[in-house]
């Protein structure tokens, strides 16, 4: 969904089933040290990548004479399992065991590693790594296998058709001969690259669709895995910082005498809008930071307040916005409606709160700059560093590392810019580590959105008109301006338009309103994190107004969407929908089609007499097309559900007097073990192309929880997070 639509616009990218394969091409050559180097170029970022780059690949397979297969990974691992699922695609066609594949991080190079489903930006996000790699990486594997077989056949002077590949070897069954890939790699590199190699039929898959063990985990259970925050270049100093507590404020006065006296503190760096303490270790840096006396000039946003921002958004929805989708004539349909339903919804700013706080290590030299960081957007890291250091792009080296949680936060390079600003004043490498308080108070936030909806129902209670006008920030307008056109972008509106339901008359408008001073950013499940809550809550309201069962009501609107209907029916069945529950326990349902994946969830929620909410159980049915690694699908849904429950129950960033009020995990709560429900995942078998899995579970769980609260208490919650005070049982 989302950005793929843009990537496949006419004149932008030739489209095939995958959106990629027609312009995917392969080249071969000798690898350094002998062996086969198979380059796979995906020329989407620029039209002339083929001519300009020749051998430089997007993702490439390297088969060494030792048989080692190396894959350069353009996508980053942040827990979503991409370091396992992407190699599975190659290994499947190449006929090697997954354990034979070794991975390397791709260096920053947008021309080569740009993501086709993100318009050529080199980034990992939008749940699309498998979707983007699905066709080309299998093709790369199949092509390499064909060349290895051809090399063996030539050596043995036999028909290639009489040979087959298996577990990293080419076999010739009639004569019992065999040769390992490593032995054949140099010969294979001299073979002509075949065109139109046939891919395996799904029924022949050996790896795809089987639960593969993750390849990135052994170092993560014994402390040896290296995240960005763990790098230690020789002589590195540790810095921590205080940024202006009010967005847009500046340092007015600084007394750093006491900080300088702290043992281990080496240097104080004063910037326009921040102060950093550079020390031998973080303990000294934090102690030094606490000893600083900083007077701030708060600037123009000193009175910024969340309530005022919400009021602005509410006002904005009174005026027309950009039309995101119109079907039929809602005015006319509304006039004839028997019942009318109106509601206003709002969702708060949210922080990402990745477990690894923001950090970046930088060594600025006279004519170069070296960066160590875990990032979802490598090329942007390089660009931000180059700009801040005043160096050409090719003088900036970036080392990417494992990511201790991304969720969209590490699609931004603000932390890199800040670290380079500091490093320019430091002799030698410096690791800039944000405290948790800085991390939460200087995040770039999931936007606040406010939605005004109305619907008309016919005599049978079915919707004949659906209006939705919503206001808030467009992240994409800042992050990738070309995607913002005619007042709209495909992320902000995803799941507000193109609903799975057959609605005869529908009208959706978006009003872009940027909150003054507050940076907004992508956050796990992005646009749908907001839109699915709103649309699925409102659909529940319509069912209630029609006095119908929420599942039956939805099913009646899904005749033209069989995959959606199937997941809804499956989730309801597995959850025991309709079976009686004790008092103040309810089931809530949600249904969505986002990131090219169909998903339905049923949450079973208990509301205590004091209003406390506990999610007891979650049942999820998913149709994400062809499943590459079913265990990853389950893991991502379990994960995304917890992330969404955190948002539903606790997530809220508020501002008062220009300052973020939340500081650490006491005031910005995260779901914990004792609150975590069981999550049952049911996967629908499908041979459709893969859909995204990293984020869908987050958007789906939120309305499932609030709809369950309605079922348990009769209270309809139209604002997040859940207000437990409103749920107290009347005495």
């Amino acid at each position: 969904m989302m950005l793929d639509q843009i990537a496949s616009r006419p004149g932008d990218l030739d489209e095939s089933e995958s959106g990629l394969s027609r312009r995917t091409f392969l080249q071969s050559g000798a690898a350094a040290g002998g062996g086969l180097l198979l380059s796979l170029s995906l020329p989407f970022a620029t039209g002339d990548a083929e001519a300009a780059e020749g051998f430089a690949p997007d993702a490439f397979i390297r088969i060494g004479s030792d048989g080692q297969i190396v894959l350069t990974m353009p996508y980053v691992e942040m827990g979503q399992g991409t370091y396992t699922s992407i190699p599975m695609l190659i290994a499947e066609e190449l006929e090697v065991d997954l354990t034979q594949v070794r991975l390397e991080h791709a260096p920053p190079n947008e021309k080569l590693y740009g993501n086709p489903l993100l318009g050529g930006i080199q980034a990992t996000g939008n749940s699309n790594a498998v979707r983007a790699a699905w066709q080309p990486l299998r093709q790369a594997g199949a092509t390499a296998r064909t060349m290895l077989v051809a090399a063996a056949a030539k050596r043995w002077n036999v028909d290639p058709a009489s040979c087959r590949a298996q577990s990293g070897e080419v076999l010739h069954p009639p004569t019992g001969r065999s040769a390992k890939y490593g032995d054949l790699a140099a010969d294979a590199a001299r073979m002509t690259v075949p065109k139109n190699v046939a891919l395996k039929r799904p029924e022949d898959f050996k790896l795809i669709g089987t639960p593969a063990k993750r390849l990135d985990v052994s170092g993560k259970v014994n402390g040896t895995a290296v995240y960005g925050i763990d790098v230690r270049p020789p002589g590195v100093k540790i810095a921590t910082l205080a940024q202006s507590p009010v967005f847009g404020g500046r340092v007015k006065n600084l007394d750093d005498a006491a900080a300088k006296a702290v043992k281990g503190v080496r240097q104080i760096v004063r910037l326009d809008d921040a102060v950093a303490v550079v020390a031998d270790h973080m303990g000294a840096a934090k102690k030094g930071l606490a000893a600083l006396a900083i007077e701030w000039d708060n600037g123009p946003h000193a009175k910024l307040d969340t309530l005022a921002i919400a009021a602005e958004l509410e006002k904005a929805t009174l005026n027309p916005g950009a039309v995101a989708q119109t079907i039929g004539d809602t005015d006319k349909a509304m006039a004839s409606a028997v019942t009318k339903v109106e509601a206003t919804y709002q969702v708060p700013f949210l922080a990402h709160a990745t477990m690894e706080p923001m950090n970046c290590t930088v060594h600025v030299r006279k004519d170069s700059c070296e960066i160590w960081v875990g990032s979802q957007a490598m090329a942007w890291v390089q660009a931000a560093a180059a700009k801040t250091a005043g160096l050409p792009l090719d003088k900036v080296t970036v080392h990417n590392h494992l990511i201790g949680g991304g969720f969209g936060r590490r699609l931004e390079a603000d932390g890199v810019t800040r670290a380079v600003q500091i490093a320019k004043h430091v002799d030698g490498p410096v690791k800039v580590v944000w405290t948790r308080e800085e991390d939460i108070q200087h995040d770039m936030y999931r936007p606040y959105w406010l939605d005004r909806l109305s619907a008309g129902l016919d005599a049978k209670g079915m919707p004949v008109a659906w209006n939705n006008r919503f206001a808030g920030s467009s992240v994409l307008a800042r992050w990738a301006p070309p995607f913002f056109n005619n007042g709209l972008d495909p992320d902000t509106t995803e799941a507000a338009i193109d609903l799975v339901y057959a609605l005869p008359n529908m009208h959706v408008e978006y009003v872009r309103v940027e909150p003054p001073g507050i940076p907004t950013a992508f956050w796990r499940s992005v646009g749908p994190s907001h839109n699915v809550f709103v649309t699925e809550s409102f659909m529940d309201e319509l069912a209630a107004a029609a006095k119908q069962d929420p599942v039956a009501y939805r099913l009646a609107l899904l005749d033209k969407s069989p995959r959606a209907k199937a997941v809804l029916a499956l989730a309801a069945k597995k959850a025991g929908w309709g079976q009686p529950l004790p008092e103040r326990i309810g089931r809530g349902v949600s249904l969505q089609f986002v990131f090219a994946t169909y998903m339905a969830q049923v949450a079973e929620v208990e509301v205590a007499k004091d209003g406390a909410v506990r999610v007891r159980r979650v049942v999820c049915a998913v149709d994400c097309g062809t499943v590459v690694n079913p265990d990853t699908v389950r893991a991502q849904i379990q994960s995304a559900v917890m992330f969404g429950i955190t948002a539903a129950l606790y997530g809220k960033i508020t501002l008062k007097d220009g300052r973020v009020e939340q500081t650490n995990f006491d005031s910005y709560q995260i779901l914990r073990m004792n609150e975590a429900p069981a999550v049952d995942v049911h996967i629908v078998q499908s041979s459709e192309p893969p859909g995204g899995m990293g984020e869908a579970g987050t958007s789906a769980i939120v309305p499932a929880v609030t709809n369950a609260i309605f079922a348990a208490t009769g209270k309809r919650l139209r604002q997040l997070p859940v207000d437990t005070a409103a749920l107290k049982q009347p005495v």
Binding site: S218, V221, N222, G264, M282, E356, T435, D666, M673
Partner: protein
Amino acid sequence: MATTIKLNGVDRTVDVDSDTPLLWVLRDVLGMTGTKFGCGMALCGACTVHVDGVATRSCITPIDGIGTSEITTIEAIGATAAGAKIQKAWLDQEVVQCGYCQSGQIMSASALLASNPHPTDSNIDDAMSGNICRCGTYVRIREAIKQAAQSSGKGG
């Protein structure tokens, strides 16, 4: 001030202020980065180590309060019986996602298992609720602890 601590069975001497939290001594002074920084206020458990076998938040443990106690970190937990079982169960159950919090999770879980070879769900909640996982791997953490407990055998 020079302070000597017993770390993974070896005496290590460091010269830092006496109130320096153990976390920074481990990570920045001794270069043992397996123990993670998450919050600095004992709210998330990412920095969990064992002090005489007890799960302890190193981010609020000053270096001068350790005395002769023995410190064990994630780098050495595999050498203990409970730690090895927990690590194996973590891999078998595919617990890990981003993995950043998992050092702390494993340290809390192995302390639990060492002191209580057959923990109930309620014991697991009590021992593990101080450790936040933003990837939400709780379902699998619970299963992994149960697997490790099974492999502890009857009577533990």
